[in-house]
Amino acid sequence: MSTTERPTERQGSGTAGLDGPLSEALVGTRRFFTRAEVSEDKRSLYAKGGRSGDSFYRDRWSHDKVVRSTHGVNCTGSCSWKVYVKDGIITWEAQQTDYPSTGADRPEYEPRGCPRGAAFSWYTYSPTRIRYPYVRGVLLEMYREAKQRLGDPVLAWADIVNDPVKAKRYKSARGKGGLVRASWGEAAEIVAAANVHTIKQWGPDRVAGFSPIPAMSMVSHASGARFTSLIGGSMLSFYDWYADLPVASPQIWGDQTDVPESGDWWDAGYLMMWGSNVPVTRTPDAHWMAEARYRGQKVVVVAPDYADNVKFADEWLPAAPGTDGALAMAMGHVVLKEFFVDQQVEYFEEYTRKYTDLPFLVALEPYAAKDGSAAYRAGKFLTASDLGGTEATAENAEFKTVLVDSRTGQLVVPNGTLGDRFGDSGAGKWNLDLGDVVPALSLLETRDDTAVVDLPRFDLAEGGDPVLRRSVPVRRVGDRMVTTVFDLLLAQYGVEREGLPGPWPAGYDDVDGLYTPAWQEPITAVPAEKVARIAREFAQNAVDTKGRSMIIVGAGTNHWYHSDTIYRCMLLLTTITGCQGVNGGGWAHYVGQEKARPITGWAQMAFALDWVRPPRQMIQTAYWYMHTDQYRYDHYTADTMAASTGTGLFAGMSTADQLALSTRLGWMPSYPTFDRNPLDLADEAEAAGRPIGEYVVEQLRSGDLRFAVEDPDAPENWPRVLMMWRANLLGSSAKGNEYFLKHLLGTDSSVSATETAEAARPKDVVWRDEAPEGKLDLLCVLDFRMTSSTIFSDVVLPAATWYEKHDINTTDMHPFIHSFNPAINPPWQTKTDWDIFQAIAEAFAPLGAKHLGVRKDVVAAPLLHDTAEAMATPHGRVLDWRKGECEPVPGKTMPKLIVVERDYGAVFDQMGALGPLMEKLGTTQKGITYNVEREVDYLRHKNGAIRGGAADGRPSLKRDVHVAETIMALSGTTNGHLATQGFKTLEKRTGQLMHDLAAEHEGKQITFADTQAAPVPVITSPEWSGSETGGRRYSPFTINVERLKPWHTLTGRQHFYLDHDWMQELGEGLPVYRPPLNMTEIFGEPAIGTQSELGVSVRYLTPHNKWSIHSEYQDNLFMLSLSRGGQAIWISDKDAAKVGIKDNDWVEAVNRNGVVNARAIVSHRMPEGTVYMHHAQDRLIDVPLTEKTGRRGGIHNSLTRILVKPSHIIGGYAQLSFAFNYLGPTGNQRDEVTVIRRRSQEVQY
């Protein structure tokens, strides 16, 4: 031991000294020069008075009041904020800290908030604030002239839009300035007149409304949605359109998206962040991840770049963009081999037997292989109808799947399949109770034989055999050979078992052996050893903790064309390891997810289900794919996507043909539906004295009536009016932005793509030689700030900000509901969304009464999920009535046809009151119908009743607070009576105890006043799949697992296998790796990495922004100051060096879809071959004219376009059935490439 000499620590003196002799000397002199007292040790000075300077900062932070509010489109943070008001002016905001506690032994939610939220108050008085109504100048002049001449708003509007010269005059002026102020009365009148004229001439389904993500301001969302629905317009979906909807979720679970709250990350023992950059996009929640690490949690990040979340990680797997499926397949290979074949883990076996489709039997199906041989591929689930005997004739037998009881070797039809969900015989049987049955996962021990099955592979760029032949154990059932999903899965993942002929991979290091860790290494660039180790750790943690391994997934992995397969590969990892439905385990999907917790109440308000049903709800991706004519620029046909094991099902079809098929079979909604006004169609059927179904079928057969989707460019089939609020289509979500400008709006665009060659054109969809431009007659946008959308609008209406209205807000990131409240009244001439649509309805009603009156309307509605209509397609066998393969039967082989009555003169009255269908039909959510008579009576007292008019005596919805109260009264999550009632209804079907989950809150009604006081925890309700009973953290599917409630799928279990014809054709029956689309092959774009005088070709990704979110945008001065202050593209130092780009240079990115100009951010954070342009950077801030076109540069989506994947438009079959924002084609945009170069640094504006 060495005794280090240390300075003696002031022994004896007892006083602390100063920093050194110099300080001692200097500071020591002060006492001689001051009247103030200096302490003994000379360290402190005690002055008398001298505080008057404090008043400066006391004034700075003084305020008159603090108001609770939040930010409300789709910021999933849902943080409650204190908004400070001083002298009638909003001054600043700060985080609320009054979230209810999560319990004694874990971190808290408070405080929540990020710099983006803290910057919002800038908007209130910002220069971009829209203060008055604006109308496009040329339009307003023509309108005033026409109205003067014709004396009627509707006739005036018709006069303009029906005159091609006049119409072109204002449409071609869109986006070029020229908006002038108008009065509220005049602006509302124009909007109303355009709607009335469109309904009269073309039909109500030619009107569309768009507003996304209701959860974050339900009343505001409901405002326009309610108006649109009342007049018969189509509300456009958003979750699928944003490509945030993980299609794998409906495919696997029959559920839209249900994920853990962030507080449940704390419960995880092992956490992977895979394509979701939590600190950037879930900033207020990220602390949970950091805190859980102190509890021993291991964090692994998969990201192509050195993203912000990587620095939290114990390990980083930098997988190349879009190759996540390969990585996940290799991990699946390891887990299946080590935890299911080399050893059996009791927890995994029990879980997968009970809660997954692994033990279910699938028939092998002979098919004509491409090499001409007779071969087998995985076919359909064996169902009770295949068994013969009494089982086969039982109710819904075709939807009762079969497994083998390992104790007896007998075939068993277990409880809980789709066949038990509807119909009398299933009552009390729709549950996961297996009784004494022990399902056999594999038939290996009891096999009759083995059979070779063809499995498609997609990893071969060129050459090689795209079919794998591996064998599975089979059992003979009648003339069929059947095997289990588990056996198929092992064959797919290349896990060898003794007695089964291969070829099998030789080991983890077999580069050619699908899907080994070594195989994925050249694809993802992640070392094989690391992949195997992480997979092993992930599974072992699940063994040790009984399922507390979690994967956070998000936009990085979800926005790809093949995202559904990517997700299925990843989610296999959380599912076979028994992590789903367990706190701290399973998937956690965070991108644009919307969880309007009081969803039932919101749905009644938004879709006016209290007055008329059904509403028109449209899949937005397909809507714009057709109506912006992007289908005319496809250079591939649908069979490009088919697998080597396909049978030519898609031969000769284009994507547009597939959409036409999906429409006529009733799979997906399609609006406008027919090439005729649905009001006239109803009149004609009535005049002919025929039921509507018969009449329409007859007309369709004769060819007199056609689906609009079959001729989208015919003027009668165009969308005519689009109303948009809380949204910024043209600055944010419009994939193929330039196609919108060209075809929808009819103004300048930068599209340079060529149209489809004749051979690849659609067959069932009419091709018009001249593509129309300027289809839309009216674009009306409500906003509080000038955006890329408002500048293209015909009418701009000034909206209130989040600090100027009442509303309610929820998220899935935390379990609370809380409120918006006006810190000030809407300033200038702004109004709340609710008031704006009241004003439009008020202007509409008299015009509607005069020009429309009471009309019948034929609504064509698709076959819906969570209804018996999901049983329209036995075995997923596609039969097309057009080809004579079946009879056209509305609601079975084609859309439902429902005649509804619309009283156009009463729209204003209906807007402002809760309608009578509430008591008559109740409310329905996810297959459960609620009786709400008690609630309507409560609301009549709470909100007051309307006197006189069409809504006499009904509860009022005149004010935004009334709507908020109504939403909360009509939903189980906020009304304990309804939650309990719903569970009791569900108990009758499942035969399992459930209502105790809500019993603790049965008497609780959350009111608006409660949400004003503090964020309020919601109640466990059958509207969602997780339990929050007893203050528990929310994790999805815990009710399914703990209360044996089936998932809403075919087998009632979590699905690895999908047996629909189209899934088989795509080769995606099982999880499989599909690489990103080859844009060189499909669209002739230069291959990634190639260089020319035009620059270097790179993958073009549009991840979420660190300096904006959809409630707090890029144009905010504070955010511009923190970031580069305008559009920017991140590029790697290597790519930049290739083409001489230096940091902050102006660059130009060009592909066939458009042109973008931006500043380059050169960073080694980026991987070579990939650039990022952050999402939603409006074209209003510092965007110069481009060199290529001489027109202003575009937004991030100017370089993307819509690509519809066939697997997303399947319908009418079990979990593959439509529901709004539950299933639909995604507006994916990750597969795109662009050429980027340094442009002249002399930019012009």
Partner: protein
């Protein structure tokens, strides 16, 4: 003319200097700042700023000795003209060179470092012109008066300067001085006039007290009030 330049102008400038500071203190208390750009650039500033500021302190000290102290006083304590001159030129020259080098570095920095240049106001630029002119003219006088012939400013300029403050100014003394001295004096007074409207005000708020300040300063409430402000009339405490 001389009366105007060397009598009226100095008093005008000094008046602006005094009233201007009062005005600035009253109406722009929170704009009373050095406008430091240290946050934007540090490498050049580390050399330029001390060179300039300490050099300038020396220069100011020299001026005090040269202008304020009458010639008779220094002679009385036995400092001969030769020694005085030697000290003035050597020490003054050293301080002057340090000031000029510092100034060059600072101006170079201000012009070439983007963020610093962006933080430069029009008033800053104007002030720099005058400041540089004063310093360069002063240097010229020092050099010129020792190389090209002798002018004893202590007999002329200094007497005139002291006269301004004793209200017995004699402009004739200045008209006899060389042009360099005349210009130096005029530009210096112009700088005094600009002073209150520029960052130069920071001269009066240099935190000298920090050197001897105890680490913790407590301030008690003022005895006559409970808040930081005196109560408004009618709201005084009843017991008073």
């Amino acid at each position: 003319m001389d009366t105007f330049l060397f009598l009226i102008v100095p008093y005008l400038c000094l008046a602006v200097f005094v009233v201007g500071h009062y005005w600035r203190w009253t109406y722009d208390k929170f704009g009373w700042t050095t406008r430091s750009s240290q946050l934007y650039e540090n490498r050049l500033l580390r050399w330029g700023s001390p060179l300039f500021h300490f050099g300038l302190l020396g220069v100011i000290g020299g001026h005090v000795v040269g202008l304020v102290v009458p010639k008779g006083w220094t002679e009385a304590i036995g400092v001969s003209e030769g020694i005085y001159h030697f000290l003035a030129v050597s020490l003054g020259g050293l301080a002057g060179v340090a000031t000029v080098v510092g100034l060059v570095i600072l101006v170079y920095r201000r012009r070439t470092v983007g963020p610093v240049f962006m933080a430069t106001t029009k008033m800053d630029k104007l002030m720099y012109v005058f400041l540089a002119a004063v310093i360069l003219l002063g240097m010229w006088n020092t050099v010129a008066s020792s190389v090209f012939g002798h002018y004893d400013y202590r007999e002329g300029v200094s007497v005139w300067f002291r006269g301004i403050f004793t209200f017995r100014p004699d402009p004739a003394l200045m008209s006899e001085a060389p042009l360099g001295f005349q210009l130096h004096a005029l530009v210096a007074f112009a700088l005094f006039a600009l002073w209150p409207f520029t960052r130069l005000v920071h001269v009066f708020s240099a935190p000298l007290g920090y050197i001897t300040r105890p680490y913790i300063v407590y301030r008690s409430r003022d005895e006559d009030r409970e808040g930081t402000r005196a109560p408004k009339r009618g709201w005084e405490k009843a017991s008073r």
